[in-house]
Amino acid sequence: MGIDRHSAQRMLDIVREVCASAAVADSEHAALPQMQPRPDLNFLEDISGNDFDVSAVLERFISDAHRD
């Protein structure tokens, strides 16, 4: 059974929120060692899209015009 879009969106929301919390944690604990690299949320959004096309995702991901 594949994942439903609602669940994928919920996953994205949670990751975004946790990453935002991580940014807060970083700012509040600046003296601590650097956190783990953040996930690329644009890529995560692409890869969890409804009509996953690996070539299209890679093209956007690698392209200079990528949203990062």
């Binding site: 994942i3 669940s7 996953m11 929120e17 935002a20 996930p39 690996v54 093209e59 991901f61 392209s63």
Partner: protein, 806 residues
Amino acid sequence: MHIEIKADCRRGLRIIEEIPDLKPGKLEGYNGIGKTSAIRLLQLCTGEQPFRGKGAAWRSFRDQLIEAKVRISDLRDADDIEWTLRPAEWPEDESQYPASSLGEIRIDGRIGTVADVQSLLKIHHLNTTETPVGILTGQVYSASSALETWYRAEGEIRGIAIDNMLSKALKLLATSSPAKIRLAREVSGEAKVALAAAAERVENVRTRVQSLSEAVEIADQLDTVRGSSPQMEHKLQELEATLSELDGRRETLDREIEASQIEKHLGEQAEEDLIRLERLVSRYDGALRRRIQELEHAAAAAKVSPRADDVAVAIGMLERELSELINAQPIVSKGPQTLAVLDDLMRRLDDAISAGLSDQILIEEASSSQGWSVEVLREAFRIQMQRISEHAQTSDAEELARNIAAARSRLDALARVESLLETVSRDESRLRNAESRLIETATNLPGSVGRRLNELLRHRNDLDNEGRQLQSQIDRLRAEIDLLGGGRTEEVLAAEFDRLCREVNVDPTRVRSALERERNILNSLTVDHAMVQANEASAAHDLQDMLDAVAKTASGISTSEDLAWLRRAFPQAARLAELSLDEQLATIQSLEARLTDKRQTASETLQAVRSIGVALEQLANGLRDANSSDRGERRRRGLSDSIETQVWDLPVRNWIAGQARQWFDDETMRQALFDGGNDITVDPQELTVSWKLNGEDFKRPLALFSSGEQAFAFTRARVAQLDRDADQVPNRLIALDEFGAFLDAERLSGLSDYLVKRQERIPNDHVLVILPCGVRPRDIVANEEKQTPRDAQLSRRGYFAERLQT
């Protein structure tokens, strides 16, 4: 909404069969009748997992439920939804649900999916006995489940697909690593320089060896000249004296012959004949003497006696010798290069042996079951190297060439001797004929004149013959004397020897040892040169291979259908094949760096999703039971306290603290839980709540928000929060379980009143309160005809449902 359930259960599991479409509804029944199980089953139908973190309860529920058919009708945006559930197909691990099939779903008679259901229906199960921390725990489990479910169902597979594509492109690029090519260029350049230097060293030493060889040869000639020349000169003088005496006798004889001819008044014709024949003999004699002189010089040069047999034997021997020398030439002249190749191969085989490949077969022999293993091949190479080294010193190559040239030269000289022998033989024969005819003519003269002349002529012939032999010996001796110094005098030889010694800066007394030493150096340098040459060829070959690989990579990147995405993303890649080599390398390097970086980002992103999911689950486990050992549970599910998970611990705590703060910082909640306090904060590390009330600071662990009064207020607050309708679905069932467990009649009435009014405000929500039955079975009238509808339901199915009244 109207809910019907037909559940086939075993052992103790029971599930109520109907929830009528009563808004707001009340469902009251005996304990164990299956009220809560019905709500949980409905949650499962919508793809939620109400047993999250309760593995034992899940497995029990799954095992006891054989099959269930659920139908919900009177819905908005759909007539009905029907499920045929097959619990046997559900996963044993509650966290895996709903990774596999629930069973069959039909929406308005058509096959549907969980996603379709979730767009239509949401089940909220609010247990009024639940504490804030319990609810937060559920939220964290739910978040963890969302991440893990997505990762398992899509993330991992899609991540592998992305990685495979990137890996394919990187693999192609890696065959043309700019760093490796730059290194290969450098190595090739250095190898060329090293080869030039090695060639120069060899040439310098070779020149010295040639000079020293010449010096040694001249030294030998000098020794010969100085040792043999005086005796030979003395002998020459003796021979010349004898020849001179012989010439004197011949002249006397000539005069006698002439006088004899005059005295006897020869006839005119006879005189003419004699004169002609004598001239002929004289000319032939002169010619023969010159031929003999040539022959003697040639024989001396060819170091052979001027006899046909000796010359034939010498030619035969020399031809065999030359043949052997020519046959030996390849192995000698190519020896250094062959040694270099073998040395290189042996080093490769040594590496293989070090890597434990001694017994690995490298060459299979079709005609034999055995093959050439690494070790056997290496031994064969070693023996061959030894053999070549023994037979093919580098200096031998030059000596061999000299010997071949010398043999050819001597063979030419012998051929000339052979030719001259034939000429001399012919000339001798011709002379003998002329002499015979002269004697015959004289013999034919009349009387004693003829006899006398005959004797005189014979005598002169003998003297001529003896003179020619003497002359031959003299010529031979002169030729030998001339050849002692290669045609040079002792003075010339000495001057040349001194010049050569100065040229090579060697003491004249040490030329032989110097030659030996320089030959050894030449041998060593020639072998080195051959190895440097092999290295240069190998480096050039490697470089060419890499350049070929770059061309192949450029072509692949520019044209491969599989890499069209790369060309679209990175337009320069499309023109890669048209660029110069340096531009290609720069582009390849840039592409490789970018793809590597993106591959890392993709991997880290997916790893982060997984790590956040695990960190959330660990946090939920900690919240659920601070004393429980969740390590065993994690191990069972293959999770670990990895660094990646640990670093997400604080962010997920911050996240849930933020969630809790938003949840609590709500007027309803603040009134319910904090007596209207404000400035509510949640400590993510300690999971404590702080607030201010009337200027005073308060702080309390989340776990302590669990009194009955707080539970009531909290429940009401939770229902109120649902007013915001974050679900965005047309149908919601809000079930308040264990309703009134902590409430007195007054508060229960107040809450019911709130729910009735809420139903009027939000008619699309179906609120259902569930509570235990307050009527004991024995209090129900046995006579069915006299039973109230409520008692009838209780009597028939153990629960009753009715509209909630204020």
